[in-house]
């Protein structure tokens, strides 16, 4: 093993790197992968295993922590440290780990039920604290492991075993939710678009603070083709908006659509046909005010048209774990710990 290498990424400051060349194979385990054939999780696993070597982090300094659900089996297939924990609780467990171990790159793998239903509270508080965690939220808009009930991201009217007459409750938009919870980094990717997924993973890893990556992931058993129109070459360009920092938000076949600001409401909307370049919004992921990123997230209807894909927001804010450690360091710099003095306190007396 070579000496530790500085990786030069804020998100990995303090995490030892290696200059020994790694390959995707180094990140595979000997465990048989047990997702259903055709599941989108395979593509995400391959993308993550393919991407990890380019980070250059020592394998032993990477930890994958998951909750419960199909996606949460992920750590078993990554040859790093890992914990498959409790439904919804992975962000809390990861927070304790990240707070005490600045030398680790900690990743949370979760799903729409795990993160947004049973674990909603931990997710929002982790985002608000801005703990240095990378959260991969596999959104398949269905409950897979429990065999097909609707999820908090399912569209209204979803007919499932638990909702034979159609689901009644409106879904979360995970990106909107994360932005409302003060997230400093929010991005979206699609399982089948490896190149785009990898670029988002890289941006998330580089970010210092909580990075939430929503990954549209196909469950071919219980909710097949949920993202078909975002993937199909016939429709995808008209349905998705590629977010590139500094680029105007023009999209669609022949770039015939554009995102413009609605002068009446201040919100964003999509227009068809020609428009003045001056009116077209230029994507800025680094704007501090979350209003813009939120407006972007609201462009999607319940059928997911139009779905912005890429990094919505990436801003700097001190992380909870860094600040915690700074408080410890400051306390220690003022005086050395003195256990005898601590036990004695200020009011003692002596007998005999």
């Amino acid at each position: 093993m070579s000496d530790s290498v500085d990786l030069g990424m804020p998100g990995l400051a303090g995490v030892p790197g290696t200059d020994v060349k790694q390959t995707a194979k180094d990140f595979k385990t000997d465990q048989e992968v047990r997702w259903c054939p055709g599941c989108g999780d395979y593509a995400v696993l391959a993308a993550v295993q393919g991407f990890m070597p380019e980070l250059g982090v020592r394998r032993e300094n990477i930890v994958m922590i998951s909750g419960i659900g199909c996606s949460s089996r992920f750590p078993y297939y990554m040859n790093t440290y890992g914990m498959h924990s409790i439904h919804g609780r992975a962000p809390a467990i990861a927070t304790g780990l990240a707070a005490t171990r600045p030398d680790l790159s900690v990743w949370v793998v979760t799903g729409d039920g795990d993160a947004l239903s049973i674990g909603g509270n931990h997710l929002i508080h982790t985002l608000r604290r801005n703990v240095n965690l990378k959260i991969l939220l596999f959104n398949n808009r269905i409950y897979g492991l429990t065999k097909g009930q609707y999820s908090p991201t399912s569209e209204v009217g979803k007919v499932t075993k638990s909702t034979p007459l159609g689901s009644l409750d409106g879904p979360f938009n995970p990106v909107s939710l994360a932005l409302g919870a003060e997230a400093t980094f929010v991005a979206r990717a699609i399982d089948s678009d490896r190149k785009q997924l990898t670029s988002v993973l890289r941006a998330a890893a580089e970010h210092r603070g909580t990075a939430l990556v929503e990954i549209y992931q196909n469950c071919n058993i219980f909710n097949d083709d949920a993202f078909e129109l975002l993937k199909n070459p016939e429709t995808r360009d008209d349905w998705t908006i590629r977010l590139e920092h500094g680029e105007p938000l023009r999209f669609g076949q022949d770039k015939s659509k554009a995102v413009v600001r609605d002068r009446a409401t201040g919100s964003l909307r999509v227009i068809e046909g020609a428009s003045d370049d001056a009116d077209v919004v230029v994507h800025d992921a680094h704007v501090q005010d979350p209003t813009y990123a939120f407006a972007l997230s609201r462009l999607s209807g319940s059928d997911l048209r139009y779905a912005p894909i890429g990094v919505f927001r990436s801003v700097e804010r001190p992380t909870y774990d860094d600040e915690l450690r700074a408080q410890l360091a400051t306390a220690r710099s003022k005086a050395e710990p003195d256990l005898t003095g601590l036990l004695h306190g200020s009011d003692t007396w002596t007998v005999g």
């Binding site: 093993m1 385990t29 465990q31 020592r58 394998r59 032993e60 300094n61 990477i62 930890v63 994958m64 922590i65 419960i68 750590p75 078993y76 990554m78 040859n79 790093t80 440290y81 890992g82 914990m83 498959h84 924990s85 409790i86 609780r89 809390a92 467990i93 990861a94 927070t95 304790g96 780990l97 990240a98 707070a99 005490t100 171990r101 030398d103 680790l104 509270n121 931990h122 508080h125 915690l324 408080q327 410890l328 400051t330 306390a331 220690r332 003022k334 005086a335 050395e336 710990p337 256990l339 601590l342 036990l343 004695h344 306190g345 009011d347 003692t348 007396w349 002596t350 007998v351 005999g352």
Partner: protein
Amino acid sequence: MPKQVEQRDRVVIRFAGDSGDGMQLTGDRFTQESAAFGNDLSTFPNFPAEIRAPAGTLPGVSSFQLHFADHDIMTAGDAPDVLVAMNPAALKANAGDLPRGATIIVDNHDFTKRALTKVGYADSPLEDGSLADYNLHSVDLTGLTTTALESFGLGRKESARAKNMFALGLLSWMYNRPVEGTIRFLQTKFASKPEIAGANVAAFRAGWNYGETTEAFAVSYEVKPAPLPAGTYRNISGNMALSLGLIAAAQQAKLPLFLGAYPITPASDILHELAKHKRFGVTTFQAEDEIAGAGAALGASFGGALGVTTTAGPGVALKSETVSLAATLELPLVLIDVQRAGPSTGMPTKPEQADLLLAMGGRHGESPVPVIAPCSPADCFDIALEAVRIATTYRTPVYVLSDGYLANGSEPWLLPAVDELPDLQVEFTTEPNHADENGTPEFWPYLRDPETLARPWAVPGTPGLEHRIGGIEKADGSGDISYDADNHDFMVRTRQAKIDGITVPALTVDDPSGKAEVLVLGWGSTYGPIGAAARRVRRKGMAVAQAHLRHLNPLPANTGEVLRSYQRVVVPEMNLGQLAGMLRGKYLVDVIGYNRVRGLPFRAEELEGVLEHVIRGEVPANV
């Protein structure tokens, strides 16, 4: 002419007033004075859950009871010899606890028609003769305080606020307490507000001088120092002792301490205390909920820290799923339950022992977890070290069952020498511990130590030992996911065997006569009242043996033998018989339960009666 001084061997004083009257502070200061003087002592703060219940009402009464003596004592006392009541509500709420002849010092300032009606007095008890059997001192404490503070230029309301210090001064005179500590304390506490500091010190001195000069108080009392073992002491509450014990344990283990907690009465003071000691490498995380507090602590343990979570009953219920995960991950985790009266919110500031079965079995699946309980406020320090020893040696979650009585009550603590604290140092695994079929070294996370059955603790960042653990059943040794029937049966039994095999000191029995036929067995905070009751019974010439369990899971190996050595065993508990049921189930011994769930500690006199009944072979009338 100097006033008469009478000797007393012990005194119980209760300070009572509105929640906003500063009774806890007053009691605390009197305690410190008594400690500095060298008495043995024991305290019992009793306060409402509401922060400021409506002023002058019975639910708003807060009290602090202190027992101090010239000999070694075990409880905060059954009944006060002296009641200090700052208003009609405080008098009404506490008068019933006083034996005839007790002294009542009452602030008559607020005995207005309206205030009396509010608490249900038709006429003033100070004037209607209803307190004729008591030694009543009706004094305008508030008026005397405001008069004494006239020169300070404070508002009336502000000066009246110092009446608790006037009362403290008066009692300090009455019992010849040293005053320097309190004066120093007030000057430090109000250092940024010198006029408030001055006013409080002046009120305190005025109270002392009032006692010395007024004819109403003819006698003062002396309670000589107690012959305690030699050494340096401090007064300590259970929550403080637990906090210091956790820090000491982490230092002895050379591990960073991580506390994940959500505020809950009566456990929050542990969070507050630990938050002050960052220089000891203590991280405190106020989580979004109880579940996250436990989860974050477990995450920290996975990374090689000492993960601790603190709570009370309702929080234990929420953390239960995490404890089960910790039990199967086989990682250290210390869970401190400062028990309070339940179920549900119950009576949050009142003690109870009704979480024993929750700790023993309140988890899904076969999920054995060690359970230990401190027996006194100072013992909370030692129990914290013991919890950490068990958690790290056996890689297991551990429950510590304290309660509201231990948490807030206090007693003198003989300070341990730091270099005599147990060595708790932990070795992380850094090398492969197995070879695959080709002879290549690999790491098996569930390959156990044959002696302790503990699995290796290999923390992230250790090269070559990358592994995954999780809630799914693991194959013995390799730790790979396994749904194999025989493996599961084996793993369930092995996890149980590991907990059953924890080394625990033998149960010791105190029977000075050696002739006792009755054993009284307790656990947790009942140690003091049971011990005091046993002494009373023995003073009457009867024999009784006393034993107290600090380890409830596993129980000491000789427990069954001890139980069978006596004709009758009585088990007093502040629950409906949880330990009694465990003992009956495990040892088939027909123990006699004595159970009260009144949100109050047992009284020594009450247990004395119970023991006498059992010694005489009668079933106690009040079982």
